[in-house]
Amino acid sequence: MTNRAQVVRGAIGVAGVVAVAELVSRAGLADRTTLPPASTVLLRAAEFFGDTEFLTAVGSTLEAWVLGLLLATVVAVAVGVALSTTPWLNRATRVLVEFMRPIPSVALIPLAIVSFSSITESKVSLVFYSACWPILINTLYALRDVDPLAKETLRSFGFGKAAVLLRVSLPSAAPFVATGVRISAAVGLVVVVSFELVAGNGEGIGGYLSQTQSGGGRPDLMLAGAIWAGVLGALINVGLVALERRAFRWHTVRTEASA
């Protein structure tokens, strides 16, 4: 299927869902105040472009997300390299990693609240924690699976361990690390919005969403905010996929050829 046909089909699908939601609401199948017509929700979402209060909230969410993700990438890659080059360290930490990794990050929201004085600090720490694992795991596996012949080739020209790590192991692991970053980006967005919903004190997209429910409640604004969160997540993913394809063309071409 061509790219264009894919886009057209996707658009038809979205339009279909919007039309059904509109009909359900207008026909009175659902309470109009609980489920406002899709057209109203989309209009509110569009109006957010001119709403400084909402845009500030989005900025606050993105700020914590970007900071946490960047920190996690640097730390997780460094730890991954340290663990894979030091076998005893790897063995010593394996149990710890396997125990810490499955803890749902949202379960740590109370801990983050009591551990940090500012909301931003708590958010960044939580994103950092949850984003570390996919990147660390991908780094570890990618470094373990570097082609031994590629490493041996460099050794055969008299290069030492550090050069092999820098010039062979890291470049060949990079596409898998990038995949880890992309997974972490999605996880991080969920975590930061969840934190804001629970303890955001009105900060960020999550904070905005929880405020729309106070008083009489504004389902139209709440749904419009949720659409923004969804679109942000989708855009981030599309952007990172595009970056990966560009930076790691050698990898994409090879894996597609062998698939």
Binding site: D147, L149, F157, G158, P171, W250, H251, R254
Partner: protein, 261 residues
């Protein structure tokens, strides 16, 4: 006194507690010689090369290059591996692949690039520099590996079944490229192959290994003229005779000598 560039003495190697794959191998290579090592597949040829190249320490025995014991990979040695698609780095252009080892020669960027381009020209790939290895055919990729080894300027070249993964026509082209390169550079070359014809066609000497564990079964000198040609050399009586002899040695003398019914 005979000058020897490479001396292998009583080399034995076993992986862990497994029975040895190499047993008391003795081998001498003189400067400028091209020695083919041939043997049945899985006989330990690659292990022998890895020990000689200093990529692996043998369980017993000594390897000396220019009189010095080989403990790590010597500076004047390069290796060409069979699997070019894994040995070339896909994230680097052809030029950068060839230029990378030159960092060990203390060259600056411009010098590395210049030498890489020269080496690519010498293997007949003057236009491939900006491409990536995976954009080239298998034969061209192996030319790039050879160019990378040549650019490094080694005195001693080790080739591990270098033409084992290309088609027959490309294989002949690469064999002739090797002979030409060797004529120009005067390098000492050790080439491992499982192709009997190839071992005779390119070699000054053919060393035949036996299987399980590998021992030197025979060391034959090749009395063919220096200038060789894929058609005429292969019809010389010396070629035909040698390839039959090597074939018998590789397959096991007893089996080959039995009269066919």
């Amino acid at each position: 006194m005979v000058v020897r560039v490479l001396e292998v003495e009583d080399l034995t190697h076993a992986y862990g507690d497994a029975p040895p794959v190499l047993s008391s191998i003795d081998l001498e290579v003189k400067p400028g010689e091209l020695v083919s090592i041939v043997g049945p597949s899985g006989c330990g040829k690659s292990t022998l090369l890895r020990c000689i190249a200093g990529l692996q320490a043998p369980t017993e025995g000594r390897v000396r290059l220019d009189g010095k014991p080989v403990e790590r990979v010597p500076d004047n040695l390069a290796v060409v591996f069979q699997d070019y698609s894994r040995s070339l780095f896909p994230w680097m252009s052809v030029r950068d692949n060839v230029a990378l080892p030159l960092r060990r020669r203390g060259m600056n960027r411009a010098q590395r690039h210049e030498n890489a381009l020269k080496a690519l020209e010498s293997v007949g790939l003057p236009d491939a520099a900006a491409k990536y290895p995976w954009q080239l055919s298998g034969g061209m990729q192996q030319r790039v590996s050879i160019a990378r080894a040549l650019a490094y300027g080694p005195e001693f070249l080790i080739m591990d079944e270098p033409f084992g993964s290309v088609d027959a026509q490309t294989r002949e082209d690469l064999e002739d490229l090797l002979l030409r390169v060797r004529g120009n550079s005067g390098m000492t070359i050790l080439l491992v192959t499982h192709d009997i014809d190839e071992s005779v066609y390119v070699g000054d000497r053919v060393v035949v290994l036996s299987k399980g564990p590998a021992r030197v079964r025979a060391d034959l000198s090749v009395g063919l003229p220096t200038v060789r040609d894929q058609i005429t050399t292969r019809e010389l009586p010396e070629f035909v005779h040698l390839r039959a002899e090597v074939g018998r040695l590789v397959r096991g003398r007893e089996a080959a000598d039995e009269p066919k019914s």
